[in-house]
Point group: D2
Chain length 339, copies 4
């Protein structure tokens, strides 16, 4: 169920509705919007009578929700969510650029890349400390040591840190050192991890699973939001198809598809989405042209020596060129209306 408050409802009236919902043993999710606040209700509200709410002061409407998702949807919040991370944003007017190496390998590597990322005007730095690898014998990341280097990068360059957690323990650590918690494609339906991320104070960047349907992806976001964390950024990173000229097939139709249903921002990862250096820049341009709110790009100061994903990492020069091109495209397209 969904309670739409009147445009002139007071803070007090909103708080009263929240209290009534809580007292019924249900969970209220108040989301303030540009025109009015709406309050999603979860916790089996199937049997709840709308008349319980319709007569409360400040309530405009109580609506039954028949869709499987309740909180990700434009029904709850018609305008796009803008995620604020310090003085930077994702989902607002500015194109969000998240650059950095696949994995943090050393302080030197991280600083060399971070300098280029900062110089490009990007506000976010990516780098993995916990790497989910297909083989148990492959480099698994530096762990907490890597996170400490990321924290130093934040200090030195003023960049916000986006980094992946793979289990409860690593979520604890990312909360200590990072700014945005990344959930990887292979964990998109690790529901225990999603619930834990839903109790985190950090915004969550949720990658689409390798063969996730649109509904499954949105419901993974719903898992996070149902625990009270409403700051979810969706990330399209390519899906698995028969095609072999590309590592994954970047599904840019997912951007307008998400936008038609959800208020959450969407960024594109052309590095994993293609797996090939020479495809990253054209597909980054395409992602922005399709209406993405941002990009996440792998850059390395020495791609040929990268411990992981070297084949798809850009050189610093290629990265600079990419940023200039996508900014120019972002400027010429009309702001994509929500819905």
């Amino acid at each position: 169920m969904l309670i739409v408050m009147k445009a002139d409802a007071t803070e007090r009236e909103i708080a009263d509705v929240v209290r009534v919902i809580t007292e019924m043993g249900l969970r209220p999710h108040p989301l303030p919007g540009a025109q009015r606040t709406a309050i999603g209700i979860t916790g089996n509200p199937g049997s709840v009578d709308t008349s319980h709410f319709e007569n409360l002061p400040g309530v405009a409407e109580a609506i039954r929700v028949s869709k499987p998702y309740k909180l990700v949807t434009l029904d709850l919040k018609p305008e796009k969510t803008v995620i604020k991370i310090g003085d930077a944003t994702i989902g607002g007017d500015e194109l969000a650029i998240i650059g950095g190496p696949c994995a943090i390998e050393s302080r030197e590597q991280a600083f060399a890349v971070a300098e280029a990322v900062r110089r490009s005007g990007a506000r976010f730095f990516r780098g993995g400390a916990f790497k989910p690898r297909t083989s148990p014998y492959a480099f698994q990341g530096l762990g907490e040591e890597g996170l400490k280097i990321l924290a130093e990068v934040r200090e030195a360059f003023g960049l916000k840190i986006v980094t992946e957690a793979v289990d409860e323990e690593s979520v604890d650590l990312v909360e200590r050192y990072g700014d945005v918690l990344q959930i990887g494609a292979r964990n998109m339906q690790n529901f225990s991890l999603l619930r834990r991320a839903g109790r985190s104070p950090l915004p969550v960047l949720l990658k689409r699973g390798l063969s996730a349907m649109l509904d499954e992806w949105l419901l993974a976001a719903e898992y996070i939001m149902s625990e009270g964390n409403y700051n979810v950024i969706l990330c399209e990173r390519g899906v698995r198809t028969f095609a072999q000229h590309t590592r994954n097939t970047l599904d840019l139709a997912a951007i307008p598809a998400v936008r038609r249903i959800s208020h959450l921002p969407v960024v594109v990862d052309p590095s994993h989405g293609t797996g090939k250096n020479y495809m990253v820049t054209p597909l980054a341009r395409a992602g922005v042209a399709a209406g993405a709110d941002g990009l996440i790009i792998e850059v390395h100061n020495q791609p040929e020596r990268a411990l992981s994903d070297g084949a798809q990492s850009l050189t610093l020069e290629q990265y600079d060129h990419l940023v200039a091109e996508v900014r120019a495209i972002h400027e010429v397209i009309a702001p994509a209306p929500v819905g």
Copy 2:
């Protein structure tokens, strides 16, 4: 095998090499390039000795080709092929826009759409007279009557006509009335039809099959070229995947992938590539941003009454808006270098 002529080779020297090849029972395919002419050889040249050619006047090099394709490849022609259709081009500096209805339904409909297409500055008009339909009971197109309407459109608006043929008989008719012969996705590996198209004087727009690998698509083009028709335009129109939010999954990584191997131009069909009206414009923008040489777009004066593909057809207003946006994007991206 591939014969590379010297930059200063004369017409006569080229003609002599062509003659020698023919006399050996093989087929020569001379393709003039910006710097020099190269001559592909087909017809089981496996056993031919390179020294047969290396000493002929004007020959720079004779190269064995180990790849499955010989004529589509940058080895034969390092710069992109520009297809000339009257005073219009595909593959050159200008973005080629091919607009029109899915099927020609009537003179009124065709003229109403053609007027908008012409007004937008596009040079090409599309419209099907022979429609390959999944069901034998669905509208199959107006046939020759449709082609006559298309010929009238050319007269009245000066647009070049792009239209599909589905068998030998319809190729004959398209050659009489049209400017560019389209081979549909379902016929991409109809090898008899490809050979027939290879003997046509018209350029061929070859759609990618629904689950075609890159190699299969390029080899389909090679079938056409091996018969002597070197004017092939590739068209990415989405592939079949598990995703259900879109009718097909538009694979824009195919654009840089083709460009890395082949000199042939590539256009994108976001209408069939998505199957949904609201996705066409963002994906058209994405296609151009990824480096496409052009777009093929379904427009209808009354999409809700279209006899086929109404769900994906743009209104005239949406089409105008799309053309403005893609032109702006085309201007800001640096010309994509071949290779």
Copy 3:
């Protein structure tokens, strides 16, 4: 529309209904069943009033059909179609085994394989004279010469010949020399070829397209039947997926899925369905266990020297072993009921 005749309707009554339909400008498709004859109607019967037929002598019922297919469906014919080819059958109690090489390469090769096929008790011999090949430079089959060898095989061994046609011209030739006309996966939506096959006196073995949905496959059969040829055998031969351990992914769920909708028999091609010698026998067993009416198997007397598809061809010994195993499985499973 579908006219169901009474169980005791006379030949004359049936002929009268057929005549009435024809006089209305529509096309009647009478299909005799075990209990009663039904008559499908095609040719835009959308606007026809059922009362035109309900009062004719011998008519039990006139039913509007809302599904896209009219003739392939169990509504028209509730019991499975048994295709008779001389004294052999496909779709009846006996498991149909179609063995032979991918391509006819020589008389010696064909006879060596045919002897083993005959010895195994199989009734059908396969072998391609026209090979649709991905590359224009690959071996394309012996053409009519190959068909002549096939006709000799029929004479010498009493095997029925199953062989592919790729265009109108080759259909003419297959009709002269063969017993069952095969339409390949790449031509499943070559609608002109389907219509031509629909006017052939030969039964048609219709392979599923590489990425064909169930509906598309059944509607391809409908194209053939709508022209008056009701002897269609469906063939599952694997679909294209992300998996790389197998050339195609054999979709055995298609067998019960077809059976639930259609009266047409289904055979399985584990040779193309896997592309690997060591997988053919286990998947052939699986196909029969899933309820297939038959198998089409590539066998070669010298697989390592095959001009095409050697990697998936069985040796004569492997083939013998396969036949014994699948016969044993066919005996233990209860006859799968239709519907």
Copy 4:
């Protein structure tokens, strides 16, 4: 690296080699085989010299392993692994049948189904207490209460309990109440969970991910084995493709593909693999015919009232019929040789 001991090596010699490996800071994985014991080595043995081992008493050979997997492979253990769970086995001569409801809903339901499963002669009972559900609002299982019911089923019927864990906490609980620990498809690359399962005393049934390549699936097993748990059962449960007549596409070619590389047993889940009641029995037969070591089947006493997956659950009668058919097929096929 891989150490192959001589056929007559003593326990003492094996223990000595294990000690030497441990002292080098590496991890030994001794796997006894029918002919001889082999010892896999993990923990960056890249730089280890084979001569360290070749001269130790009892060592036949020291082999460098270039494949990404070391422990799952036939190189380490040429004969199939037989997993022993009390007096029952998976991977041996007997066909392993694992029957039960999708989720444990109540003691009554579990007992009604368990009685039928026991009566069929099956040795294993499945039932979920922790259900990974796409929506956060769907029934998530009874948790520990469900496990207690499963423990009662074991007591009452002597069936071994196969049940899923979704995180570290639920692994602890499954270890307390269950016999086989199931890892679901969505967690196949939840590497933290795999490592935890690798430290469990219970055998692990590892479902293939929805779009897992063969290598990824085997490497997920390798994650478990690299922690010291060598009792891994692979489970094919269908992959995601474009097909829509079935919930997933059951990839039975995976069975011979796994067998060619690995000694681990493989079972098939035709319930999730098809998602449709009427497909379960034919595909179960097909799985056994393709060489599966067992089946995992959803059965419910009242499928129409099931809280999850009712559409694919068999009735008790259908289940009985299935068991009889698959046993008959298992008897007629020759035992599939390893390799």
